[in-house]
C-alpha cells in the first residue's frame, strides 16, 4: 500500500465517520443543521480523496484526458442542476425534488453495476450477485421515484390500476429474477443484463402506479431505503467500503423512517405497496352517524367566532399544503393573536405530504416555532378550546378512528371533536384517502366553510380585520 493509498483510506474513513455523526446530530433541531453540514463536509473529503486517488493511478485505474473530460462534464452539469433546483424549489414542492434526487441516486448506482458488467462480465459469484441486486434495486428505485415525483407534482395523482396489472407485475418480477439468476450462474451476456434492467424499470413503474398520492411519502421513504441498499451493492461491486457503509446507513435509516410513517397512518408498508384501501384485513362497515345534516357557515360568521374566542387551535393538513396557503394561515394566526386570542397549531405526525413536512411549511411561513404543538402534547388542550379551525385535514380528525371496524380504526387522531366548536375549511364533502366519511363534519358542533384553503383563509383574514377590535 503506497502512502497516497493509505492517506486516501483514512480520508474515506473520516468521511464515513462524518456520515454517522451527522445523522446522530440530526436527532435534535438544535444540532440538526450542524449535523447535515458535517455530513456534507465528510462527503467533500471522501470525493476529493477519491479524485486524488484515481488521478494518482490507484489500482489498475488510469485517467486520461477523455476520462477526465467525461467525468468533469457529468459532475459539473449534474451538480449545477442539483444546486439550482435545491436553491429555487418552493418548499411545498420539496417532496418531489427529494424524490427526484433519490431517483438519480438509484439510477447512478444501477449504472455503476451496468458499466462494470459491460467492462467485464467474468465476475465471481459474490460480485455477480451484488451486480444484479444493484441493477434490480437501483432500476426499481429510479423509475419508481420518478413516477412518485410526477404523482406529487400532480400528474397521475389518482391511483392507476388496469386489468391484469398484478399479472404484469408478476411476469416482470419473474423476468428480473430469472435473468438475475442466469447472470449469477454465468450468462456472460449483455443482452440478458439489458433484459434485467428493463424488467426492473418496468417493475418500479408497476409498483408505484396503483398507489395514491397521499401514500407517496411512505413510498418515497421506502425508495430512499432502496437506493441506500443499491449504493451498498455498488460498493460490493467495486470493493469500496465507503459506499458500503453509507449505503447501509441509508438503507437502515430509511427502513425505520418508512415504518414510523406507516405506523402513524395506521397502515402496514405491505398494505400500501399491495395497493389501495380495502385490500387489507380491515373491513369497511357503514360508519354510523355519517350522512347526517351538515351545517355550513359564511365567512363573516366564521370570522366572528374566531375573533371572539379566547383559545383557538388550528389544525393544518394536506389540503393546506396542496393549496399553498401556509402564508395566509400564518397571517390569520397573527391577526387573531393581535386581538388577544391564544393561537396554537396542532401538527399530526403525518400532516402534509411527508412526515414533518407541515413543520417545514409553517416554519417557512414564519409561524413561531413554540406555537407548533405535536399531537400528544396538544390533544388534552382541545377540551379547553373555543374554536378548532381545521384547514384541509381530514382522516386525522375522524373520531371514527376510536372505534374498531372501519378503515381508520386505531389510527392516532387529533381530538378536534373535543373542542367547544369546530370550523372546517374544505372544498367539498369528499372523503380523504381512507375513503370513508368523516364523522366530525356531521357533528352538531361543526360548521363547514366550503372554499379553497388559500381563498378561504384570505377572506377570513379580511373579515376578521374589519371586525371592531
Amino acid at each position: 500500500m503506497s502512502k497516497v493509498e493509505i492517506a486516501i483510506r483514512f480520508a474515506s474513513l473520516f468521511g464515513a465517520a462524518c456520515f454517522v455523526l451527522g445523522l446522530h446530530f440530526m436527532n435534535s433541531p438544535a444540532t440538526a443543521r450542524r449535523g447535515n453540514q458535517l455530513s456534507a463536509f465528510g462527503m467533500f473529503v471522501a470525493i476529493v480523496a477519491v479524485l486524488i486517488g484515481v488521478g494518482d493511478g490507484q489500482g489498475a485505474a488510469h485517467m486520461n484526458a477523455t476520462r477526465w473530460g467525461v467525468l468533469a462534464a457529468g459532475i459539473l452539469i449534474g451538480g449545477a442542476y442539483g444546486l439550482y433546483s435545491a436553491r429555487t424549489v418552493q418548499m411545498t414542492n420539496m417532496p418531489q425534488l427529494v424524490s427526484l434526487f433519490n431517483a438519480v441516486g438509484g439510477g447512478a448506482a444501477a449504472l455503476i453495476a451496468i458499466t462494470d458488467y459491460h467492462l467485464d462480465s467474468h465476475l465471481p459469484a459474490g460480485t455477480a450477485t451484488a451486480t444484479v441486486l444493484d441493477i434490480v434495486i437501483g432500476g426499481v428505485t429510479f423509475s419508481g421515484s420518478v413516477l412518485a415525483a410526477l404523482k406529487l407534482q400532480g400528474y397521475l395523482s389518482k391511483p392507476v390500476s388496469f386489468p391484469g396489472s398484478r399479472l404484469a407485475s408478476g411476469i416482470v418480477a419473474i423476468a428480473a429474477v430469472g435473468g438475475s439468476i442466469w447472470i449469477v450462474a454465468g450468462a456472460h451476456n449483455q443482452v440478458v443484463l439489458l433484459g434485467v434492467v428493463v424488467a426492473a424499470v418496468l417493475f418500479g413503474v408497476l409498483m408505484v402506479l396503483p398507489i395514491g398520492g397521499a401514500d407517496m411519502p411512505v413510498v418515497i421513504s421506502l425508495l430512499n431505503a432502496f437506493t441506500g441498499t443499491a449504493v451498498a451493492m455498488a460498493g460490493f461491486v467495486l470493493g469500496n467500503a465507503t459506499l458500503v457503509i453509507a449505503g447501509a446507513l441509508v438503507g437502515a435509516s430509511g427502513s425505520i423512517l418508512t415504518k414510523l410513517m406507516a405506523d402513524a397512518m395506521n397502515r402496514s408498508v405491505v398494505n400500501i405497496i399491495a395497493g389501495g384501501f380495502g385490500t387489507g384485513a380491515v373491513g369497511t362497515d357503514a360508519v354510523e352517524g355519517a350522512g347526517g345534516p351538515v351545517k355550513s357557515i359564511a365567512v363573516d360568521d366564521a370570522a366572528l367566532q374566531l375573533a371572539y374566542a379566547s383559545k383557538v387551535i388550528i389544525v393544518p393538513g394536506y389540503g393546506l399544503a396542496a393549496a399553498q396557503a401556509q402564508h395566509e394561515l400564518r397571517e390569520l394566526g397573527e391577526v387573531l393573536e393581535s386581538r388577544g386570542v391564544e393561537v396554537s397549531y396542532a401538527i399530526h405526525p403525518v400532516a402534509g405530504r411527508m412526515p414533518g413536512h407541515m413543520n417545514v411549511l409553517l416554519a417557512e411561513a414564519n409561524v413561531p416555532y413554540d406555537q407548533l404543538k405535536e399531537m400528544d402534547e396538544i390533544n388534552s388542550e382541545f377540551e379547553r378550546t373555543d374554536v378548532a379551525l381545521v384547514v384541509g385535514a381530514n382522516d386525522v380528525t375522524n373520531p371514527a378512528a376510536r372505534r374498531p371496524g372501519n378503515a381508520v380504526s386505531g389510527m392516532p387522531i387529533l381530538n378536534v371533536d373535543h373542542a367547544k366548536s369546530i370550523i372546517v375549511v374544505k372544498r367539498s364533502m369528499a372523503s380523504g384517502y381512507a375513503g370513508i366519511d368523516n364523522e366530525l363534519y356531521t357533528d352538531p358542533k361543526t360548521s363547514m366553510f366550503f372554499t379553497d384553503a388559500k381563498k378561504g383563509l384570505a377572506s377570513l383574514v379580511a373579515a376578521t380585520k374589519t371586525l371592531v377590535g
Binding site: 474515506s12 445523522l23 436527532n27 433541531p29 438544535a30 440538526a32 453540514q37 455530513s39 456534507a40 462527503m43 477519491v50 484515481v54 493511478g57 489498475a60 485505474a61 488510469h62 476520462r67 467525461v70 467525468l71 457529468g74 459532475i75 449534474g78 451538480g79 442542476y81 442539483g82 435545491a86 427529494v98 434526487f101 438519480v104 441516486g105 439510477g107 447512478a108 458499466t115 467492462l119 459474490g126 418515497i220 430512499n224 441506500g228 449504493v231 460498493g235 460490493f236 467500503a241 459506499l243 447501509a248 446507513l249 441509508v250 437502515a252 435509516s253 410513517m261 401538527i347 405526525p349 411527508m354 413543520n359 417557512e364 414564519n366 413561531p368 416555532y369 413554540d370 407548533l372 405535536e374
Partner: protein, 105 residues
Amino acid sequence: MTGSFVGDMTIFILALLVGFEVISKVPATLHTPLMSGANSIHGVVLVGVIILAGYVHGVLGYVLTFIAAAFGAANVVGGYAVTDRMLQMFRRRPVPAAAAKEDVK
C-alpha cells in the same frame, strides 16, 4: 468468495446496525429533513462513479459514465443544499419569532 467480499459484508452488517441505532430516536418534526439528509448521503455513489471512470472505454462506456456522474452529482449537491435550506428555517425560529411577536404588539 474472496477475502475482500467477506470484509465488505462485515462492514455492511455493522453499518446497518449503526443505522438502526442512530435513527430510532428522531422526533417527528425532523423526519422530513432526516429523509432528505439520508437521501444526500447516498449521493456517495458519486465516489463509485469516479472510481469506475478510471476503467471505462468505448462510446457506450463514456456515455454511461457521463450519465452516472451527472446523476450522482445532482444527488449529492442538490441533496445537501435542499436539506440545509430546510434546517436553516428550523434553526432561525426561536429568536426572530420572538422579535416578530414584539412588533405586532
